[in-house]
Amino acid sequence: MYSYTDFDEAFVRSRVAQFSQQVERRIDGSLTEDEFKPLRLMNGLYLQLHAYMLRVAIPYGTINPHQMRQLAMIAETWDRGYGHFTTRQNIQFNWPKLPDVPAILSALADVEMHAIQTSGNCVRNVTADHFAGAAADEIEDPRPIAELLRQWSTDHPEFQFLPRKFKIAVTGSPNDRAVTKAHDIGLRMVRNGAGEPGFEVIVGGGLGRTPMIGRVVREFLPKAELLPYVEAILSVYNQLGRRDNKYKARIKILVHETGLDEITALIEQRFAEILPVWGGQNDALLAQIEAAFAPPAFREAATDGYDAFYNADPVFRSWADTNLAAHRHPDYAIVTISLKAHGATPGDATADQMRTMADLAERYGHSELRISHEQNVILPHVHKSDLPAVHATLAQAGLATANVGLISDIIACPGMDYCALATARSIPVAQQIATRFDELKLEHEIGPLKIKISGCINACGHHHVGHIGILGLDRAGVENYQITLGGDGTETAVVGEKTGPGFAYDEIVPAIERLIGAYLKVRAEPEETFLETYRRLGLAPFKAALYEAEGQQDAA
């Protein structure tokens, strides 16, 4: 995996030193909050409902065991013994104290990590397919490009004060696991007629108060031209983005208001200006980065032990059926470690659990870990013969929940339990849904289903692209939950449709139960997923289950 160069190291260290002084000056009163706020946000430090929150970037979701152990150390030394993995492949610490933040940032720098550009109107952490470099369906590992983008965008002088924040996601697979169509820029690797890999460039996707699916501005972009092209997009956005209105400032609004043809022409025009003066320096850099992402030396060993164990142990089999994905090497598997034990907080891991995962990665996983936007942790390279041992260790750490992709594998933003922007809670709703369907012992029967919950309209919980989306709002001083159906965050991305009036806090779980009851009744066969059934039948049967059965029309 990529290691910091001397430049990266010096840059991160000098930023820590700078911010340490800024914190000092804030505490001694030489800086006011108005002066300090933009500085702390540039370094990932928010002030939330009950405490400060530090958001640490995990570039393209890739992390090594050494780094994971350091996160555990930070959680224990300066926080409450746990960390929260987010939908942008970051980790958040919910209880740091202001005077401790410099020490935390310094501890992060010790393991080549930082919190730079995890907030503010700049290019944020570049996210990637969490199965990158391992997936069987992948054209090429997209992470070298993500790393190139990270280096290019970090402290880029032209793009530190964009009209609004800017999120880029990259995938190397036709099966989109990185929600590229809901990002400011989505990059999907494709091959051209000659079989060369390049990128389909998608611009103007986004969730939030105005959800939009991104539009393709370039069907095929050669890899070597990626950076100048992305710079051209940013440049057009930086100049024309709506700085007059915060709610219209994202690039999705610019794309929508300008129109696809015109925005494409503007980007191509700017690109034509940039490309000739770009020079070839990035090719050499990209080649170096690519070398750092060379696949591990896969082990050749028999897998019959795995087959025998799979057939003999039903608990292991259930876990293997839900939590494993196909690896590019036939003797390997991709392991998704669920951070969604029934009733637990989605995305939270204790320091002990972090160390367990680090140990497993080191012993069985070629020292690689990934964080998924679905708030789980991935061991991307595990030889099948090691899976029983991995499962046994996970089980002891409370990490062997066999629910990946099922109803209890819920994305939930921190909501009003932590977030200062939230309008309602989301974590307890996720906890209650997971607990309820575990009690009913229905989740395997229900099959693949993505529930995504946001505690406000900003949609950090991706509710718009949940098969079932839940949005928590404040309706006249009471928590109220709106349901959307049919959202999809993959290559067939679509924004979900609102069902109607929302439900009160104590009505939302029964409402979800009625929805699922309706699905089980109307699905054509057990293999037809919730999303397929919804696409076949539309809202009607679900609306009926939500509103007619219980006389809920007056709920909101």
Binding site: R26, I27, L47, L49, H50, A51, Y52, L98, D417, G477
Partner: protein
């Protein structure tokens, strides 16, 4: 006739810990809502908010939050302010934990 003024408390976060604090009638910052000064006059509320906002090396983000009179002192009226008096619902952290100690 003008609508009656909804009583307020001045609240903020402590600069160093980020913990929720409330301005008391005797100019302290208390960690407990029921110790806050319940302000029932709009002009007085603005004065108290200005007084609070000036304490920039002690607190961050002072604002007026709706409150009501209760048997032990002011109580929050909105669920957000109620959560701020206690801490998150998924872990026993924050003020609820301190109160139990």
């Amino acid at each position: 006739m003008s609508r009656p003024y909804i009583p307020k408390v001045v609240t903020a976060n402590a600069l160093l810990e980020g913990d929720v604090v409330y301005l008391t009638a005797d100019d302290r910052w208390s960690r407990q809502h029921h110790e806050a000064e319940l302000i029932e006059d709009e002009a007085h509320a603005q004065m108290r908010l200005l007084h609070a906002a000036a304490q920039k090396s002690v607190i961050v983000g002072a604002y007026l939050a709706d409150a009501k009179r209760g048997p032990d002192g002011p109580e929050p009226t909105h669920f957000r302010e109620e959560f701020r008096t206690r801490g998150p619902s998924n872990y026993f952290h924050g003020k609820q934990e301190e109160a139990a100690q």
